[in-house]
Amino acid sequence: MKARRPRHQRVAGQATLPLVFAVKPVDNSRLRREVNPEHRRECLALLGLGVAVFVFVFLVALQHFQCVRAGYEIEQFKSQRAALEEWNHQLRLEEASLADPQRIDALARQEGLTSPSPQQVIRVGPGGEAPTGSLEFARNIPNLGPAPVPLGGISGQ
């Protein structure tokens, strides 16, 4: 089988012909593409629909993710509220424990305080009805030095 000659290889004994390139002017400027308004409207409508669908999907997705994010925040706030409520309860419990009359009594006695007898207690506020004799005692108070502090159980509320 004979090998094929490459195209660019000259054939022995043949003359080389000059190649002439000529420009053929073609004027198609007069040609105008026919615009189909129907088709164009369809295209625009399709494009508009696509944009609308995209915006809708985008908004839905955005809303969804915002909801999810808000859900996380709400849950976080809920747990914060629960923790604060619990803390509030704990503080109330602590307050109640600290106000235990037995504890206050022990602390007072540790400080050297004693329970005054009813005769020693004089109420001079608007709620009190000090007995007549007590007023006499009260007048002499400045000469008698500092009075002991009343205990919680005696002073009333």
Binding site: L93, P101, P118, Q119, V124, T132, N140, I141, L144, I154
Partner: protein
Amino acid sequence: MILGGVLALWMLGLFARLYQLEIFDYGELLSRAQRQQQRTVEVAAQRGTVYDRQMRPLAMSLAVDSVYAVPAEIPNREMTANLLAAVLDLDQGDLVGRFKAFRSFCWIKRKVSSEEAKRVRNLNLKGIYFQTEMKRFYPKGALAAQVLGYVGLDDKGLAGLEFGVKEIEGKPGRVLVAEDARHQSYRSSESQGRAGKNVVLTLDENIQYITEKALSEAVTQFQAAGGAAIVQDPNTGEILAMAGVPGFDPNDYAKSPPEARENRAVSWVYEPGSTFKLVTVAAALEEKLASPSEVIDCQMGSITLAGHVIHDHKPYGDLTVADVIAQSSDVGTIKLGLRLGEDRLYRYIRSFGFGARGGIELPGEERGLLKPPSAWSGISIGEISMGQEVGVTPLQLVSAYSAVANGGILIQPRIVRDIFQGNVHEPPLPARGQRVVSAQTAATLRQVFGGVVEHGTGTPAQLSGYTAGGKTGTAQEIDSSGKYSKTNYIASFLGFAPLEKPAITILVAIDSPVGAHYGTEVAAPVFRSIAEQTLACLNVPQDNPSRLLQVQLPTPSGPLRQQRSNPVGRRTTQSEMAEAATSPVEPVSYSLPAQEATRGTVILNDGPLLALPDFSGMALRVVAEKCQALGLELNLSGSGVAIQQSPAAGTKVPAGSKVWVNFER
């Protein structure tokens, strides 16, 4: 062509699989996803808070952690058990056993402290989880423990009000939580449980403490087996204090013996002895069968009834009816009982509330022991007249004395003042009352019982600054052989003060005191201690300031003295305080109303009154700021704007008062 066929088959398979997942298996896959993403959390039922009459909490619930394990998820059981045992103070072997016995769930320790929970969390063990549960706390410890009762591990009331008032209990709820892959919740929906209602008691924390302390000191002093004391407002039937010794700490009730948890005030049935003579003399006076000044021959202390000789504790001759009670003559009282006859005496006993439950809101109330006249023996009328052959509870007795104190009406005793949740209040129905003696008879009886304290067996019950009336009682207990004991007595004192317009009725009963056993020696001083402090606490005006009393005052020996003598104001050191606390107090006796008494006078200045503003419509922050500016203590509930307040707007209150404001959105 072939490629097209393969692609078509692949697409077909894909669509078929999609169809199967989306249509056929949809339901199952959805539920599996939900199981994976959603979690149902049980919200424990919250019990209501129990308050005293001044809205100070006595029992409240807090959320705490309970530790549980999923043994199948634990990689190394021995090591996990070892670590948990060390942190939670548990037995390691027991934990390993539990891990082997259960596969999917087992409790490690329930209701642990916050420190324990923190330590377990820090261990970060696999297969160990936490569940939130509610735990009941009693911030005042043993105070009013027998009244409050206690709850079990499952938060159910087991005794006292916790058991008796069902409204305290709540209903558990559920929360459905949606979680992401990192177990962070992003959505939750609640099926609301119902929180328990709050209960306001008639008890006053301070009066309760005064009562418990005085009773406990007497029980210790006389090495008694126990005791009970009740303070009641005779005009409303409200119980201001109800104490029992021995007591217990409801925070750790399992460590106390069952008898310590029993509320003696309502469940202790005993023979009242002479304190029961109230019924006999009241019936005799009401039926006009006797008058206080009428003289009765007490036959030098002995009377024979149905062949039995009954002796007085002292031989008395002629005594007036008033003196029969003042000197506690059994013979005189029996003679009054005989005048009444069996049926009439029985009718009065019943009408004074004996032999029936009083209807207080506490569980375990006994009706006592009372036989109908048909079952009485020949001696019964005498025995019952002087308080034997009849069993009563302390609550029945105090209610009977309150009837005399308030003018003759037996009022149903009450311990629950209000039940509320948010703004909805459900106070119990007004206490029932029935007239048992006329107001005139009641007034006469008060004078008769005033004589007991003034010059009779109850002189140790004389109050400083107040008049008082009452009756001592010394009853023999029944021993194991069914006979009256020669050694065990119940010493009691029942009284009211002030005499004309009683503000309180007090019962003190001491079980088996050692050494002294008479009510005069054992119980009357306790009455005095409780009454004096309680009347001062209630700010009851003194009606007898001229009484000369011996007042025991300690010499200033503590840090106060040191501070007074130290004008520089140097702070007392701890060692000085310890020394002061241990140093003996030297009592000094002197008489009132000599003006020296003012050495220890305490002036309580309640300060000027301020009118409460109208908070309605104000935001929480504004209300809080106003209260702070006025020096008021704000107790709030709800959120939003203020819709309700207590006390009402315009009410004049001293600075530092508590104000309750409810808010709503």
